[in-house]
Amino acid sequence: MHLSPLSALLLLPAALATHLRISVPSTPLLQQPSTLPPSTHATLITLSHHYSAPLTVSNAFEFRNVSSGSYLLDVHCHTHFFAPLRVDVHEGLKLKSDGSGVDDIAEVMAWGTFRGNEWGNKGEAVVVKEVEGKVGVWGFEVPARVVKDYYIERAGFSPLSLLQNPMILIAGFSMILVFGMPYIMDNMDPEMKAEFEERQKSSPLSGGAQANPLQSFDPAAWLAGAPSAGTKEKRDDRAPAERGVTR
């Protein structure tokens, strides 16, 4: 293969240039691409090469004279987001597969790319084809992705949002309990009421005082030498009665 050093040389990016036509298609999100502002432009960037093209009347970005390289394509638009693309432009001469000579090749490939991922991590390929009737003009589409929304609306006062607040719900429930309980008690028939009061007396909540004798221990009375269980008992008897009254 005496040709190989030469072919390796030829494979180097030549100073030839490619014409790219990147169009903005009409999508449900952006039905009229002609409504995009005139400041919309696209940039093709790689190390030490930087191209910029404004959006033309035919809703396309025209990059003339793009030299070979692997570019990052960004579309800057004031009203819509566009996904970034990786655009590889190869142009030059390539050794034929059978080694019989060199081919003049020109190819453009485009993929989705992800910021924050390595450059080799390519996304979905974008269909690139030569524009009809034009030799050496490569075209593909970049659809608009998201509409840019610059503002936030102030959350206005609404009574419903107030009611959804759990604090308000708890407060409302306890209000009902406090105000509604006496009515329920009043409307209960006397037998049931008595039964209810009986149950309350024996319930551990109200009988909790007896459960822990230390709690009801009266040190003053004990020091005074009058550990009268009877008075204590009496006091305990009175307590539920009082409670019943306050209810």
Binding site: S34, S39, L47, N65, L72, E118, V146, E153
Partner: protein
């Protein structure tokens, strides 16, 4: 394709709402002057964007390279395109061209090597093409058929004239013509049948005009001849006019002392007609020629001659049949400066003459005045320089005229029938420096109170009673205004006072901005009143091909004056409220690299620093107290201290920092002068504290290497010269903007980084990055590092051990990927520094300014895992490598700001709020509240509902009180 959107939504969901702009606050808290730059005489015209519609728009290509369409009725910008490249500066030598294509919705522009065709209505590009060389002239090739008109572009390619005919529909080259290498290409002209290339032929300083005739179809040379002009034409500027697209295009120049005008009708012969120029009040200083640019217009032209005090004009007719030129009539001499503009309607040619007293319209055919209107000027508009006019024939013999005129005050006016319709402050564009200024307080009350305090009690008491009695006269007016004040405070019509009186407000939003522009003008803007231009004054006359290089503005708040220093040592002092120029120092021979405000024993001083970084000896009482960091001749950085031991204070070089071999120092940033820190530590989730490294004497140096395309950042202690921290990034495109900022205990910079071919093992990503580094005293919480126990510390002797290493900060860095280039960075400032700072980034690519919240740029965000509850308590969110510039971050929201060079911040009185002002081509200002407006009631506060609630409660009490009383009485007295 799903990932970007999910990433996007993730980024959106991360963003708390407090950083966005409320829909009801947009356009009320922020303001913008949408500017174009000064319109140029040859590139400003009225043109119909729709063929079958009579409405016209006003098009201009300004001196700053902005192409724009302005609505002539309102003065609002319809569309703009910045033709000067994003990176490339537009200078006056790269002259731009703009031509309308008659009968088509197209305007064609050419700047540098680019030719673009634009849709006149929408501002979208039709086509663009780039060629080698620089553009010298641009003309539209008129056709007799109805095809799209082709474009002629004359280039200067390595000193050789190259004429290209570009296809009107695609911009592709139809043919090229190469001129001779010895000639200087000047202009191109056409009369449909032939194309004329006019070049200067001869040696530098004395030229003959060489006319080459070309065939428009093939581009082949038909003939060429030379016009003898050796003694008159010395430079391309000496040729006054080369008419194009008229039935008889001419080339004209004057002799040296403006005695005669020499005219040659192109395509006729080499004969030169000499027309005498009549003097009017002294020698003629300037001659202008106005001729129509339409092929169907009558071949008439007007010669406008100016002298120092007056101006007059002559109208000439060309006879196309015989090739003779005859004077038809003249417009009489009028004192002062005046502007004449030409407009044509079919065959009719109208000349509009605007002077300070009146506006007249004449037809080129006869001297009868078609319309005359008195000028209604406010008197401050200045002299009229040049304009573009549109004459409309109404019914019968009545005419209407509107002219867009540039004045000597750099304002662009639209004068309709003598009355000013609108004024655009175009001189405000091209701002190079700006500074905030407080509105000087009226100090009368303070003075009286002080006087009372120092006099004896009795007289002070009498004085006070008198003063209060005197104040009584304002009581009725106060009482009258009271209901209105109450009403406005209930309805909440806004916080800033919109009355014409310039006064400080309690929130500190009313401030002034002093702006200096490239054209030597100084402006005063009221930031509290939508950036209203309060005054403008001419500081220096800057030639049109130069720029005023302002090195610094120093505002003395106590005196209410601002001093502006330029690079040639010139300076001007203006009053901040009135704009009166108090003092001017003419440019000297000492060039300065920068200026600095220093504290000296005798007060603050505005110190210029010469190009080589050396400072002169100064008296001891004027010696700066602090250390200075200057850049030397060879780009090295020096730390200076003034030695006050001798009779005079002389600067002593403490240290010198030389960047690595092949490195070039790009810039040096220090902490902002107003940079208060509210908390010296960062409280972590477990109640321990990471102490911030808060050294006021640090500078961040950016150095780049062009050969190896890397960038290095050095954090240097400005007292000792020690490098505290350094970092290098490889594979950086140094043609892309590299910006940095240093504040509090953190620094941030942005750059464009590529994957490296050599480092195939490391996965890389291509794109713009922003890197944030936070400096702490120690890696361990609750530890203050080596400086911990000491009360005082010195950068030079960091510890008791001799020659010890300096105490290095513990640095945490994090890199984020951003979608586009940041061309400038600055940081919001608040009064106490309690509010978190916001990084304000200018995005030249999308004509916007974004504010990135600090918590997104936190270097301590946990990587690769969800934050622990303790970290969540700190407000840390999981690291995500990409920061999408969410539109809600955009401080400029829907506005498009172009050419922003710098953003300056100042604190308001309210702690939550920082005022921002951005300048460049456009001027933009806003208020930001990075931690939400916690100390002011926003527009969401509904005063009306508050008042309604109070009223309802009040009514309730009044209704219920008698009822309760009755019930109580009944309870006691009523019997069952």
């Amino acid at each position: 394709m799903r990932l970007p959107i999910t990433v996007l939504t993730l980024a959106l969901s991360l963003l708390p709402s407090s950083h966005a702009i409320f829909a009801d606050e947009a356009y009320s808290v922020d303001y913008q002057h949408e500017l174009l730059g000064l319109p140029q005489p040859q590139t400003t015209f009225f043109h119909r964007p729709r063929k079958d519609d009579k409405a016209t728009l006003l098009y201009t290509l300004s001196d700053l390279g902005v192409l724009g369409a302005v609505h002539p009725g309102t003065g609002k910008v319809v569309w703009r395109q910045l033709l000067a490249g994003e990176a490339g500066e537009y200078n006056a030598s790269s002259k731009g061209f703009l031509r309308p294509v008659e009968g088509e919705s197209t305007v064609v522009s050419a700047v540098g090597g680019r030719v673009d065709s634009w849709d006149a209505m929408s501002g979208r590009e039709r086509w663009g093409n780039l060629f080698a060389g620089t553009i010298k002239d641009l003309e539209v090739m008129e056709t007799t058929s109805g095809d799209v008109k082709d474009i002629l572009a004359l280039y200067d390619e390595d000193g050789k004239g190259v004429l290209r005919l570009l296809k009107g529909e695609s911009g592709n080259v139809k043919w090229e013509y190469h001129g001779e290498i010895t000639d200087v290409p000047l202009q191109v002209s056409t009369n449909v049948e032939k194309i004329f290339v006019i070049a200067l032929h001869g040696t530098t300083g004395a030229y003959n005009l060489k006319i080459t005739e070309l065939d428009p179809v093939t581009g082949k040379q038909i003939s060429e001849h030379t016009l003898r002009s050796l003694s008159d034409v010395h430079s391309p500027e000496d040729v006054l006019l080369v008419g194009a697209n008229s039935a008889a295009p001419i080339v004209a120049w004057t002799d040296k002392d403006f005695k005669n005008l020499k005219v040659n009708i192109l395509g006729r012969s080499a004969s030169i007609t000499s027309l005498p120029l009549a003097e009017a009040d002294g020698p003629i200083t300037k001659v202008e020629i106005h001729a129509p640019h339409l092929i169907q217009s009558l071949p008439h032209f007007l010669v406008h001659s100016h002298s120092a005090t007056s101006n007059r004009a002559d109208v000439y007719h060309i006879n196309p049949a015989s090739g003779t030129i005859a004077k038809e009539y003249e417009l009489p001499k009028l004192s002062g400066k005046g502007a004449i503009s030409v407009s044509s309607q079919a065959a009719n040619v109208y000349f509009t003459r605007l002077t300070e007293d009146e506006c007249i319209v004449v037809s080129s055919a006869s001297h009868g005045i078609l319309g005359r209107w008195p000028m209604r000027f406010t008197g401050k508009d200045g002299a009229l320089l040049h304009g573009a006019s549109e004459v409309v024939q109404r019914t019968g013999d009545t005419y209407a005229v509107r002219s867009a005129v540039l004045t000597s005050n750099d304002d662009w006016l639209l004068i309709r029938n003598g009355a000013v319709d609108w004024t655009r402050p175009e001189g405000l564009s091209g701002a190079v420096a700006a500074a905030w200024a407080e509105i000087p307080e009226s100090e009368n009350l303070a003075k009286t109170l002080e006087a009372e305090a120092h006099s004896n009690p009795l007289s002070a008491y009498i004085h006070r009673v008198n003063r209060h009695a005197h104040d009584l006269q304002y009581l009725p007016a106060y009482l009258q205004a009271l209901p209105k004040r109450l009403l406005t405070s209930i309805i909440g019509s806004g916080t800033a006072s919109q009355s014409g009186v310039l006064a400080r407000d309690s929130f500190g939003f009313n401030k002034l901005v002093i702006v200096a522009t490239v054209r030597g003008r100084v402006y005063g803007l009221n930031a509290g009143n939508q950036g209203f231009v309060l005054w403008s004054s001419k500081a220096f006359d800057i030639p049109s091909n130069e720029k005023w290089d302002v090195k610094g503005i120093w505002v003395e708040q106590s005196k209410g004056i601002a001093t502006i220093k330029g690079s040639k040592g010139e300076s001007v002092t203006v009053h901040v409220v009135t704009g009166n120029v108090l003092e001017t120092v003419a440019p000297g021979s000492d060039f300065i690299q920068s200026t600095v405000v220093v504290e000296t024993p005798s007060g603050a001083l505005f110190l210029p620093i010469s190009l080589d970084g050396n400072l002169d000896e100064v008296p001891v009482d004027q010696a700066p107290k602090d250390n200075l960091v200057v850049q030397g001749k060879d780009g090295e950085i020096k730390g200076l201290k003034f030695d006050t031991k001798g009779p005079g204070a002389s600067p002593v070089v403490l240290w010198t920092f030389q960047s690595g071999p092949g490195e070039k120092i790009l810039n040096v940033v220090s902490r902002p002068p107003h940079d208060p820190v509210a908390s010296i530590g960062k409280v972590l989730g477990d109640r321990t504290v990471l102490y911030k490294y808060l050294n006021p004497n640090v500078v961040l140096v950016t150095a780049v290497s062009e050969e190896s395309s890397y960038v290095a950042f050095y954090l240097i202690d400005s007292v000792s010269g020690d490098v505290l921290y350094s970092v290098t990034h490889e594979g950086v495109d140094i043609q892309q903007p590299i910006t940095s900022v240093l504040t509090e205990n953190w620094l941030a910079y942005s750059l464009w980084s590529d994957i490296l071919v050599t480092e195939a093992t490391l996965p890389g990503s291509k794109g713009y990055q922003i890197i944030v580094s936070e400096l702490f005293e120690s890696a361990v919480p609750n530890d203050r590092g080596p400086l911990g126990p000491t009360v005082n510390s010195s950068s030079i002797e960091p510890s008791d051990i001799p020659n010890a290493e300096p105490a290095l900060p513990y640095v945490i860095s994090q890199t984020f990927l951003i979608p586009e280039a940041i061309s400038h960075m600055s940081v919001s400032q608040t009064r106490q520094g309690i509010t978190t700072r916001q990084l304000v980034c200018t995005l030249a690519g999308s004509n916007a300014i974004v504010g990135i919240p600090r918590h997104i740029l936190d270097a301590r965000r946990p990587v690769g895992r969800a934050p622990t509850p303790a970290e969540m308590e700190e407000g840390l969110i999981q690291y995500h490598p990409v920061i999408e510039f969410d539109p809600k971050m955009a401080l400029t929201h829907k506005r498009e700001v172009i050419g922003i060079k710098d953003v300056i911040a100042t604190p308001a009185v309210l702690e939550s709020t920082s005022l921002l002002f951005a300048y460049g081509i456009d001027v933009f200002g806003t208020r930001v509240a990075p931690s939400a407006a916690f100390d002011i009631l926003g527009k969401s506060f509904n005063r009306l509902s508050l008042v309604a609630t109070v009223l309802a409660l009040w009514i309730g009490v009044f209704v219920l009180a008698p009822m309760t009383k009755r019930k109580q009485i009944n309870e006691r007295w009523a019997t069952q």
